[in-house]
Symmetry: C2
Amino acid sequence: MNLKQLSELLGLSQTTVSRALNGYPEVNEATRERVLQAVKETGYRPNKAAQRLATGKAGSIGLVMPTAPGHQSDVHFGEFLAGLGEEAVRHDFHFVIMPADPDDEVAALRRLAVSGNVDALFVAYMRGHDPRLAMLKSLSMPYVVHGRSFGSEPDYPFLDIDNEGAFYDATRLLLQLGHKRFALMNGPMHLDFAIRRRNGVMSALAERGLALDEDCASHALMTDEQGLLAMERFLQLPDRPTAILCSSTVLALGAIRAVNQAGLRLGEDISLIAHDDVLPLLKPENFSVPLTTTRSSLRAAGVRIAQRLIGTVKQAGPFPDQELWKTELIVRASTGPAPQQR
Amino acid sequence: MNLKQLSELLGLSQTTVSRALNGYPEVNEATRERVLQAVKETGYRPNKAAQRLATGKAGSIGLVMPTAPGHQSDVHFGEFLAGLGEEAVRHDFHFVIMPADPDDEVAALRRLAVSGNVDALFVAYMRGHDPRLAMLKSLSMPYVVHGRSFGSEPDYPFLDIDNEGAFYDATRLLLQLGHKRFALMNGPMHLDFAIRRRNGVMSALAERGLALDEDCASHALMTDEQGLLAMERFLQLPDRPTAILCSSTVLALGAIRAVNQAGLRLGEDISLIAHDDVLPLLKPENFSVPLTTTRSSLRAAGVRIAQRLIGTVKQAGPFPDQELWKTELIVRASTGPAPQQR
DNA sequence: CCCAGTGCCCAAAGCGCTTTCAATTATGTA
DNA sequence: TACATAATTGAAAGCGCTTTGGGCACTGGG
């Protein structure tokens, strides 16, 4: 069933039917009713590809999903998507997801953009000096970046959390508790958030004349395995750290396993603060020792970004171009005073 | 840059350029080279919406993602998507994801199908007597169902795991270990896999003249909270179960927390077998007591379904219509002989 | 020398929709 | 009663692509 058939059925022109459906004012209310009724009966749905071709809009936002045979799926991605979806469903938007090899993201993004079947782009996994920014700017298509790109001029629309502030505050708390030996379990160093969090830690330490030892910084994929490995390394250090900053509750999961296996007690021998993206699966309060965290909901960020993206496409009012969300520092049981000097 | 411009630039007709790009034989090799070269220089990409409109194909597979403000995002969904994506990227396919209220899935699916921007559909979260099947059959669009629909004629293309067999085997193992009092922590009862797993447990029990007590069966969302709550309930039973069958490692996570909080030892006081979808975050071997599991990779299922879907769209050879994968029963430390009668 | 066959290429139709421009009828106003 | 004005509706162009149905220039066998 297409427009033509529907209009013939109704004895109207395609024009009128189209107008009736799209809420144009110049159509008689009685006629509109009749059209709507017929749509209900026939189950007619406009062909999106045709609509897109005719209007240039298609009610879809595009994103690329990094994936590869060895590539471990990322819980953060799913959670973020849920947030986007929550908002999208309210506006009858959908997503076009282009899977792409992680090394091919910039090309994939360009392909997606020029493919002509998305109205706006969402970009994540930002890196320092991210090469995608230049491309996006040249594109004349709305986009919002989740995160920022360290080292690039901040002249692009983004939503980010204050990673540096979060880790600065967390570090200060641990300092106040008397800790002197710190370690950082971070995400891959090329990612923006990792750079900023590291900076946050280092500047808090610097204020006390401390530095972050190279041996005490791990930059790796945020999986529980990597958390385990990193923590094992830390614990074997001659002068092992007593305070751990951790970029994700996923890493913390592995880290805590290592702590337990070493027979140490979390919150006493070792204090740990993790960043909490509010993953449904990894609630800090459900850890055997509830985790002190810096918190910011990934899902809420998804909702907000979808709002901005969709709002822009629909030309609904101005949106702030750049948002920086504060995180909350929530103290639970995984932090405690520094143990007495051995 | 569109076809028209490109062809004018080359002094060729749109026809020839189009043919050159799509690998038709009736175009001079030299001409084709010239076209390809121009494409490289101009960065021309065909408009997907126009292609779709003209050909009816667009290289995309559609799926609906259940989502709602309160709706907890599902790790299983993300993991499955990763599998789909891994295969899709090889064929330059993408996804169109329609977010939808969980109560609106059948309508959302129809909208997606008739929207005309997907070539095939993937359907999950199957229920008993699933109403979507009838709709899908009437659609004349390729689709593959992940799972099955209990109570419906099995005359549709699906890929499923042998849920009944898995839980039958798991139950038998526990019976052999001497357990007499069983409990089942399952997903929502309207879902197909939950029905079959339950049946598997019950038929194994029935062979020994045992039955599954109503108090010892929990059907709820597969979250760690629900796992915790269910297990707490089980443990308060006057004659508490010693053997637990668990539909997900996510549920197991909560369940084990309850076991620990009750001061009981997993694998001794309580034996537990969970189904393992091979989620990267929840490796059974990484639990404090490594989990005995029935295993089947969700991601592998995603890859396979994408193969079938894409293969069908591309008319590449026949694919089996129905696949039932066996699961593996992997014994680790969470199962042990039934404790002596108290 | 003629004609069927082959190799290449093009004009134009059509996919299903939106939107401009124009036509027709109804409604007031002078 | 006559004419400007508003209220509805339609015809047709166009979005960017694929594909059908020719057309033209060569070849080579008869």
